[in-house]
């Protein structure tokens, strides 16, 4: 281990994401909440990594730090060799928030194209308008491209949100519990839709979730976090071959990984 002082720039060759002893506190009045404690993690380019852990363990905070929406108090984060804020300036990110967060005054098609328009002004092109339509077609929204968000069901809105993210063609995708507002059945469908789109796009994904099955089905690695302070308990490899379909949920390998994640979560919540 080299002795890095906080905030010092790190020379990076990796195209992925590197967290190096990242800590974060939130101050509320005179009290400091230790949201993340010495988180170190390497995510390779093109990898799908899930963050799972109890509520309040700092998953969203870690995601915001990755996206440069928050700054760490200690440690460094490098994203494709850059600081997160710089990566944001270079338009490296796509983000899928917990709520669909569609603009209600824009049609489905206009919602999907908007972020790309902003990026294009900065010289970063996403996928073309025709490709966007194809994408909407592909995810079953072909008949709704000119509908307003209020005319869609919750699941359809979340699909638009996913299409919007993939339309950017960005190398990094950050998702904060994108399926948590959906019912169990829609949610299960959404996993495979996401896998399908990700397989075509090949971007790096950091995916926050509360659902163990979701994390295992989707990921190359599952990062189990514990709370108070937020920290990494264990990083679990998911050795299930891709492409994955519904039947992986019946396989022994799947059940084994689910059991390991569950055990790690239990360990993390045990009093220290």
């Amino acid at each position: 281990m080299t002795n890095r002082t906080n905030g010092a720039p790190v020379a990076e060759s990796t195209k992925g994401i590197r967290f190096d002893a990242v800590s974060k506190w939130f101050r509320r009045k005179d009290q400091a909440v230790h949201a993340l404690s010495r988180v170190s993690l390497d995510i390779a380019e093109g990898e799908f990594v899930s963050l799972i852990g109890p509520s309040g363990c700092g998953k969203s905070t870690l995601l915001r730090l990755t996206g440069g929406l928050l700054l760490p108090d200690r440690g460094t984060i490098s994203v494709r060799g850059e600081a997160p804020a710089e990566a944001r300036r270079l338009k490296h990110y796509s983000f899928i928030p917990q709520q669909p967060a569609l603009l209600p005054w824009r049609t489905v098609r206009q919602n999907v194209s908007m972020l790309g328009q902003l990026n294009r002004r900065a010289g970063v092109a996403g996928i073309s308008a025709e490709a966007q339509l194809e994408l909407l077609e592909h995810i079953g929204l072909g008949a709704f491209v000119d509908s307003l968000p209020k005319e869609l069901s919750g699941g359809m809105q979340q699909r638009v949100s996913i299409a919007r993210a993939f339309a950017l063609g960005a190398p990094l995708m950050l998702m904060d519990e994108p399926f948590s507002a959906l019912d169990e059945i829609t949610r299960a469908d959404m996993r495979y839709l996401l896998l399908d789109l990700w397989g075509q796009a090949g971007c790096t994904v950091v995916f926050v979730t509360h659902s163990i099955p979701e994390a295992v089905v989707l990921s190359d690695r599952v990062v189990v976090l514990g709370a108070r302070p937020g920290r990494i308990i264990e990083v679990i490899d998911v050795d299930i071959p891709r492409p994955r379909h519904e039947d992986v949920e019946d396989s022994d390998a799947y059940h084994e990984v689910v059991a390991r994640v569950r055990a790690a979560l239990k360990e993390g919540s045990a009093p220290r």
Binding site: R64, G67, L69, R88, R89, K91, Y93, S94, F95, P97, Q98, Q99, A101, L103, P104, W105, R106, M114, L115, L118, N119, A122, L148, P149, K150, L168, L174
Partner: protein, 276 residues
Amino acid sequence: MSDVDTRHDEAGADEPPERTPHRVRRALLVIAPFWGLGSFFAAWELYVRLADVRPLTLPLPSSILRHIIENPGFYWEHGLVTVQEAFWGFWLAFFAAVLVATAMAHSRFVERATLPVIVLTQSTPVAVLVPVFVLWFGFSPWPKILTAALFAWIPFVANALTGLRSIDEDTHELLRSVNASRWEVYWRLRVPQSLPYLFSAARICIGLALVGAVIGEFFNSSEGLGNTARVAQSRLLVDQLWGSVFVLAFIGVVFVLVLIAVERRVLRWHSSQDLI
């Protein structure tokens, strides 16, 4: 054969329902406002006739209407003056409010510095400022325009501020994730989000701007419907007094209807337009 046909029909007839099953009900809904207005004036007319009220106390609505119809040029000319004053006052208030609210929504410091001034204008009975405006601008349209603007200013600035502020946090974070500038967040998110607030303020402000213009005319003017009403009052021209009131009410209604029509187009996406 006909048996089979019927069954086939039943099985295949899962089509959308006809669009006009409630034609009568819909027609009634269209008529309702006119019916309400008509009854109001009919009741008024009947009461005045039956109770034999003196015209000075309350004239017949029919004679007020006759006075308006017999003097169209008179009311048109003075109505136009008042409408112009209210119109410019309305837009002056609108742009000032949006400008101030934009500055306030972007800086806590500006907000904290400006808020006391706004509360001050809010709690002052602004009508007392009209003589001041007259002192400044004398015999010009400006005292009236400024009064109209001052009346309309408060709802506009309050709603513009709420609208520009109340943005969806997830959407804001989404825009920040692609490094959208403040300017882009303003035009793509804050402004559209504040439109419903601005429209509901505008509905109130149309009336307020007219009130402001009329009060301005009470103080100092040789024209406008505020002036015709004041002159009529001093000379006991009851029909002209009430005629001015009617024309003012009519102007207000027309502008609100125009606004509603615009709102319905612009805010098609907003839930406030679902029940109409």
